[in-house]
């Protein structure tokens, strides 16, 4: 099933991975990218070599992605998603807890630190989750990625994707400096993602 889906994604978008800053290796990584469309995750996933896909997991909002049997099956059986709660029910609950568990188990994650989809152009400011994960797991590589053209494949409100070639550009891994504070790290991470943007013709 996963193979079929990856094939369809490649047929429609090409899903070309350009590994500019690091080779595709079976290292534990957090990929973080700009977020413009529902297809972003599928695109990164399809751009990864087949053997890395099984251990690279997306983050899915529990309330939305378990709402129907199909959504639940898709995120659980095909993508092996990490579910997070959007609403904090308990003050002491750490929303990052499921992510921490997944990383502790040795899996790689794909996160979109903007939180919501931005409307083309510059990505919004990054949320702090990436910083906390980087502090807790210094051995995990943080790989920036830029997803290009995907907003043309499926604009907001449309259901049928149009075949247009997209690329995912992976940059050089970052790491959190010893003295670096949250704000400057998140700004540096965002700049690393933006720097991968291909030149517009």
């Amino acid at each position: 099933m996963g193979r079929l889906l990856a094939f369809i994604a490649r047929l429609i978008t090409g899903a070309q991975g350009h590994w500019k800053g690091c080779p595709p290796e079976a290292l534990q990584r957090i990929y973080f990218a700009n977020h413009q469309s529902h297809l972003d995750w599928v695109l990164i996933w399809a751009a990864l070599p087949g053997e890395l896909r099984a251990h690279t997991r997306p983050i899915a909002a529990r309330d939305y992605w378990t709402a129907s049997p199909f959504k639940h099956w898709l995120t659980r059986a095909v993508f092996n998603a990490v579910y997070v709660n959007r609403q904090r029910t308990d003050e002491n609950d750490d929303p990052l807890e499921p992510l921490v568990q997944a990383l502790a188990a040795g899996d790689s994650l794909v996160i979109f630190p903007e939180g919501t989809r931005s409307h083309g152009g510059e990505p919004q400011a990054f949320k702090s989750g990436l910083f906390h994960l980087a502090r807790q797991f210094p051995q995990v590589q943080l790989v920036p990625a830029w997803i290009d053209n995907v907003q043309r494949v499926m604009p907001k409100g449309e259901v049928v994707p149009v075949p247009i070639l997209c690329t995912v550009t992976f940059g050089a891994p970052l790491s959190l400096g010893p003295e670096e504070d949250k704000r400057s790290f998140l700004e540096r991470a965002r700049a690393a993602v933006v720097a991968l943007r291909p030149l517009v013709l």
Binding site: G14, Q16, H18, D148, N149, R152, P155, E158, V160, V162, P163, I164, L165, C166, T167, P198, L199, V200, L201
Partner: protein
Amino acid sequence: MLNVLRHLDAEQQVALLFVIVFGVLLAVTVGDLLLNLQDRPPEWVKRHDRFQRDLRAMWIGAALFWLAWISGPVGATLLFGIVSFLALREFITLSPTRRADHRSLIAAFFIVLPLQYVLVGNRNFDLFSVFIPVYVFFAIPVLGALAGDPERFLERNASIQWGIMVCVYGLSHAPALLLLSFPGEPSGRGAFLVFFLVIVAVVAQVVQEAASRWLRHRPLARQISRSFSARAWLLSATAAGVAGALFFWITPFKIAQALAMGLLAGGAGTLGEFVMKALKKDVGVAYWGNQSAVTGAVGLLDRVAPLAFAAPVFFHSVRWYFKLA
């Protein structure tokens, strides 16, 4: 001697054809390997890289045609349909479409393209010839206008139309040739016309490339191509004609007819490539597979452009000249 070849049966001719094609490719590849054993200046290496890319494309092309042959008319139609899809995908990627074009694009990819190939498969050649130029030409701007975005309306619609015309209409004539039947000839003869067309187009392209490199002549349109000169074009069309005449035995043509058809198709193919160059200059990419482009386009459009331009001209002249139904 060539007449002897004509009297072989179809299977034998095809086998012979593939032996010739793969034999030539193999000879070129081995020769290239031997030449490559010694050190070369960087300029030579750069040119050689380009040559190797072209050679690889030819291997892939030859293998594809072989696949098309063994899978029969349905398989070949499907195969060209897929190539059409990939080429159109590449074209649209580099076109200035906007969000409002979404519905038009869906229509182009998922309705127009399959329908056109179904028409080919069913041999509805009359409808097939007018479906895109008449009905789709009308439908696409209607869909575009209904989407309600007037910005650069003509430009957006024109590029979608053009993409459909070249990548779907043009290319779909290659499998149409496969299915054309000649009176008094066994069916399946059309497959040879596709070979004929491809061989003629490839010869024209290779000669054009070589001639424009060796004959430093005044370019016809410097802004578009520094190497495209009238003399190189004439030479390539002539070479295509000669190649066509040499391969007359696989076609229903007589030698002189084969020469004329080769001339026509080869000339149209290289002109088509020239037009693609103008288009690429406009979009700002050196070749479609450019790394610096927004996308990871694979350069398929470059390869199919001569075929997409030559096939309709070739198809309709054959049909008109032989008064085929």
